[in-house]
């Protein structure tokens, strides 16, 4: 029944379609350059599926194009086609062959998935706290940071917690993604494979500030990372208002002691600024942050004057009730209004003092 000429023509169209699809797949950089072992696995699975998909796409394209090309008739043609009702062999073939192909994709995926869940024996543990609309990271129960800093070539086990609604943790170059669910602790493993700067984005719609919920990510050489951690541990101390139970040690390394309170109120203000994640959204020169999600905090004196309140009172109100007075060009509801409860009174006082003093001329 099937005409030989039509089949040969279809074969030619198949080859052309496959070449075009392959060029589209290869020439466009569809995926970001990998920065983790897990992303390497994802990219492998991606190419495995792509090869199969190109074949299926080219087959469908070839049949449609050839059918329209060869079997098209004029509108006034009243004849009918041959009454072919089916072909058992063909029908079995196009049930069984796709089943085998998709199962192959399934097996490859399951293997990669199992590999990607494993952070290795020497994994670094990082706790991630998400809230509307900020990220915070905790190392060894001690160091808090609003920047995610990771060592290269070492597995990292993230434990994620949300304070309010569902968020999702994704660094595009590292592939792995995990929702952060209130009431549930979720986990994800990433092994960074190259140093550099990346961005962590929230990918689960979490409210009006969702598109601003990002955090900087820095991958360092192991020694640089350890140095950063030590520096933060010495400068920092335990996060205010939180029971960590691990104050004496950081990563098995004895601390020299005394640094938690030595800096006094100003030091507490500085660490609170870092630990509460203020720098994730606000630029503040003394803290060296330059984020632009919220208004800059470098000229609070002027802002307070404009609002007609003393600067300390203005700063306190803006932390506890962020929607009361809004900086021009910024929207209500983006900044969390929970700091009144989540910060201890001392930490809040110190933070107010830190922000107000440093802006004084």
């Amino acid at each position: 029944m099937i005409r030989r000429g039509a089949l040969i023509k279809m074969g030619a169209i198949f080859v052309v379609s496959a070449i075009i699809a392959t060029l589209v797949a290869v020439l466009i950089p569809w995926l970001p350059e990998s920065a983790s072992e897990e992303m390497d696995g994802i990219i492998f699975t991606y190419w495995f599926a792509t090869v199969i998909c190109i074949g299926i796409f080219a087959l469908v394209a070839a049949v449609i194009i050839e059918a329209v090309w060869s079997f098209r008739v004029q509108p006034d043609d009243d004849t009918d086609g041959p009454p072919i009702h089916g072909h058992t062999g063909l029908e079995i073939a196009w049930t069984v062959v796709p089943a085998i192909l998709v199962i192959a994709i399934g097996v490859v995926s399951a293997v990669v998935l199992a590999q990607n869940a494993d952070a290795g024996d020497d994994a670094l543990e990082v706790k991630v706290f998400a809230q509307q609309f900020a990220w915070r990271f905790e190392y060894d129960g001690q160091v808090m940071s609003d920047e995610l800093v990771l060592p290269v070539d070492r597995g990292v086990e993230f434990r994620l917690e949300s304070a309010d609604v569902i968020h999702s943790f994704w660094i595009p170059e590292m592939g792995q993604k995990q929702d952060v669910v209130p009431g549930v602790q979720t986990e994800i493993a990433i092994t960074p494979t190259r140093t550099g700067r990346f961005t962590l984005v929230c990918t689960e719609l979490c409210g009006l500030g969702h598109s601003t919920m990002r955090a900087p990510v820095r991958v360092l050489e192991e020694q640089e990372f350890e140095a950063w951690l030590d520096e933060r541990a010495e400068a920092g101390g335990p996060p205010p208002g939180e029971e960590t139970g691990g104050e004496e040690t950081t990563g098995g390394e004895e601390t020299t002691g005394g640094e938690e309170t030595v800096g006094g109120a100003q030091e507490l203000g500085r660490t609170t600024f870092a630990d509460a994640g203020c720098g994730g959204c606000h630029a503040f020169e003394p803290a060296g942050t330059d984020a632009q999600i919220g208004p800059a905090l470098d000229d609070l004196e002027a802002a307070a004057q404009a609002a007609g309140t003393p600067v300390e009172e203005y700063v306190r109100e803006s932390i506890v009730e962020p929607n009361a007075v809004l900086a021009e060009g910024y929207q209500a509801g983006v900044m969390p209004s929970t700091y009144g409860e989540s910060l201890s009174p001392e930490a809040l006082d110190a933070l107010v003092a830190y922000l107000s003093e440093d802006t004084a001329p």
Binding site: F57, V60, F71, D78, D80, G86, L113, I166
Partner: protein, 645 residues
């Protein structure tokens, strides 16, 4: 029950406009005036139920407007509207003991254009009512999309604040899914299925009318949410808890709108099931049913089994807000992921609810326009049932990154990948039907072939999303947005266009303009691809979905997408122009312009009010093209277009 007797063609006065026994005044007559005052009255009743209870309980304030709007505005006033418009009249008469005639045809059939604006029990009128109403919501949803595409044209915020933006995105998806795609298919099936079965109407014509009139209530609630303080619901059409229980009041419009759309959907599905099972013409065995009927049979099973789950999930979210329950709030032991499990247990089957009727439409069109029997008819029907069964075992593939039990991922991935098999069977069978056919490349066929090619791309991107490691990277990015638009626009919407062009001559008796139809197809096809194909790319390289603002590196592609989306929107204008002008003064189409064998083409265009003078006798399969002397059905009586005995 009473309406079942309506099957017997015992009314000799078919063609006559029925005259009501007693002409009532404008205020008491079923219609918009009565709907208006009944809605107002029922609003007051609902409002004072709330106020009285709050006053008795000593709660302050007595006038709690959110609760009043919820109860009076979203429950009792719509009931008042339905009562006033006349959707309950027959049942109320029957309940109150007033004389009723079981086959009362007072509201049956359209004799004047005004009859399309009334409660009507004729499945053909209801079909057209569905299509026109859903197209209104399609235009509204498309308009919202153009608004937020303007915002996305450049990085940074230009036109809206982020809450408004989230509201636009959410309302766009909700309108398109709940009050366009799902009910547009119900409209096409309403028109075609009883005719194809050789039945005089649906099994429950009055329930059918009620189903339709519940639909605009849902659409109006979704749109009205923009008037709520705090703006429209802004949590996406998925409306995940606990965010949804903490959002401004607009969220409740979504919770309740879904109830009305869901009730409409369930009632229609029950109606289809009973019609298809009990009202097939003599000789119409299951293996002789057209594939459109098979598709709607399967879809209706999905609707009846799955839709109660989304109704429940939305009630629970709303209870968490207004009654301080803790279904999904972790503070009091609620289980956040429970929402997603319940939601997707509906919403994954809903994906098939939104595509299986389209499969049916495409099977009709490809067989007729290729002048060949559908290839592998029985396997086509069986694969629909395969999708039905597998469709209930794949929901958690929407939750691969959600933090659910890890062991669920691999089984759900395998079942998801396997569902590609019955879907692939359908695609290959369509292709084999084309082969060696006599292909008439008119507008319905163009949309059918456009559908097959776009749906294949959507299906292939679905394979990437089924593979867990890739999904973990691509989930919640623009890749998802691209995928769902390839299956819902390139898939469902293309089939809706194909179906409208295909049955337009039967519905109206007039032919659409073929040239404009083809122009519409090519503009839609090209701009659809320019709009949605780049989204795969921006998603994979790092742009999350549902963001009002994005990193500057994605700026150029987003500008391209926005421009293309405006061109895509403009192509709909051509469709509207074609349909409206052709409806008014298109050339007379004739009874069977496509030379199709299924029964709806064997009656006049438009069909007689009661479809058939005598129930047809089915004698063979529906797609016996090319078989010499083959017939699908034999018709007798006045609705014959030619002697066929």
């Amino acid at each position: 029950m009473t309406s079942v007797t309506g099957h017997e063609p015992q009314h000799a006065d078919h063609g006559h406009a029925p005259s009501p026994a007693r002409r009532r005044g404008i205020l008491m007559r079923p219609g918009y005036v009565r709907a208006l005052w009944c809605a107002a009255l029922f609003f007051l009743v609902g409002m004072y139920i709330v106020v009285t209870l709050r006053w008795l309980a000593g709660w302050d304030p007595v006038y709690q407007w959110e609760i009043i709007v919820l109860i009076a505005g979203m429950v009792t006033a719509p009931l008042g509207f339905l009562t006033g418009i006349g959707a309950f009249d027959y049942w109320l008469h029957w309940i109150s003991g007033r004389p009723t005639v079981p086959d009362d045809h007072a509201n049956h059939g359209a004799y004047r254009w005004q009859d399309y604006f009334k409660v009507n029990t004729d499945h053909k009128v209801i079909g057209v009512q569905y299509l026109v109403t859903t197209f209104f919501f399609f235009l509204a949803g498309g308009f919202l999309a153009m608004l937020f595409r303007a915002e996305l044209a450049q990085p940074g915020m230009q036109f809206f604040d982020t809450q408004t933006y989230n509201g636009l995105v959410s309302a766009h998806a909700t309108l398109m899914i709940f009050v366009f795609i799902i009910p547009a298919f119900a409209g096409l099936a309403n028109f075609a299925v009883p005719l194809m079965l050789g039945a005089p109407d649906m099994a429950f014509p009055r329930l059918n009318a009620l189903s339709f009139w519940m639909l605009p209530i849902a659409g109006v609630l979704f749109l009205a949410s923009f008037l709520a303080p705090g703006g429209a619901f802004a949590t996406g059409w998925t409306s995940y808890a606990p965010l949804a229980s903490e959002q401004p009041f607009g969220q409740v419009f979504f919770n309740m709108g879904v109830q009305w759309a869901g009730a409409s959907s369930i009632a229609t599905a029950l109606n289809f099931l009973v019609t298809i099972i009990t009202m097939r013409a003599p000789g119409m065995t299951f293996w002789r049913m057209p594939l459109l009927v098979w598709a709607n049979f399967t879809t209706s099973l999905l609707v009846v089994i799955a839709t109660p789950f989304i109704a429940g999930s939305q009630f629970f979210v709303m209870f968490d807000r207004v009654m301080s329950t803790s279904f999904f709030t972790p503070e009091n032991g609620g289980y956040v992921l429970g929402y997603q499990h319940i939601f997707w247990f509906y919403s994954h089957p809903a994906v098939y609810i939104m595509i299986l009727p389209g499969f049916g439409i495409i099977s009709e069109i490809i067989a007729v326009m290729s002048r060949k029997p559908i290839f592998g008819y029985r396997l086509m029907a069986i694969s629909l049932l395969g999708i039905l069964v597998l469709g209930f075992s794949v929901w958690a593939h929407h939750m691969f990154v959600a933090g659910m039990a890890d062991w669920l991922r691999v089984p759900m991935m395998i079942s998801t990948l396997l569902i590609a098999v019955p879907t692939g069977v359908k695609v290959f069978s369509w292709l084999a039907t084309l082969w060696e056919g006599k292909i008439h490349l008119n507008t319905p066929m163009l949309f059918a072939l456009g559908f097959v090619s776009m749906f294949v791309i959507g299906g292939l991107s679905g394979i990437y999303l089924a593979a867990v490691p890739i999904d973990i990277h691509a989930s919640d990015t623009y890749f998802i947005v691209a995928h769902i638009h390839y299956v819902l626009f390139g898939g469902s919407v293309f089939t809706i266009f194909a179906g409208i062009y295909y049955w337009f001559p039967k519905m109206t008796g007039r032919m659409y303009n073929e040239r404009l139809g083809k122009l519409h197809f090519w503009l839609t096809f090209v701009w659809f691809n320019v709009t949605f194909f780049p989204m795969h790319w921006v998603g994979l390289v790092g742009m999350p979905r549902r963001v009002a603002d994005y990193a500057g590196t994605f700026g150029a592609l987003n500008m391209v997408v926005t421009i293309a989306s405006y061109a895509l929107g403009a192509s709909v204008v051509i469709f509207m122009f074609n349909i409206i002008t052709s409806w008014v003064r298109g050339p007379i189409a004739g009874d069977n312009p496509w030379r199709a064998m299924t029964i709806e083409w064997q009656v006049t265009s438009p069909p007689p009010v009661f479809n058939f003078d005598e129930i047809p006798q089915v004698v063979g399969g529906p797609y016996e093209y090319g078989v010499p002397g083959a017939k699908h059905a034999v018709l007798k009586g006045g609705s014959l277009q030619e002697a066929r005995v």
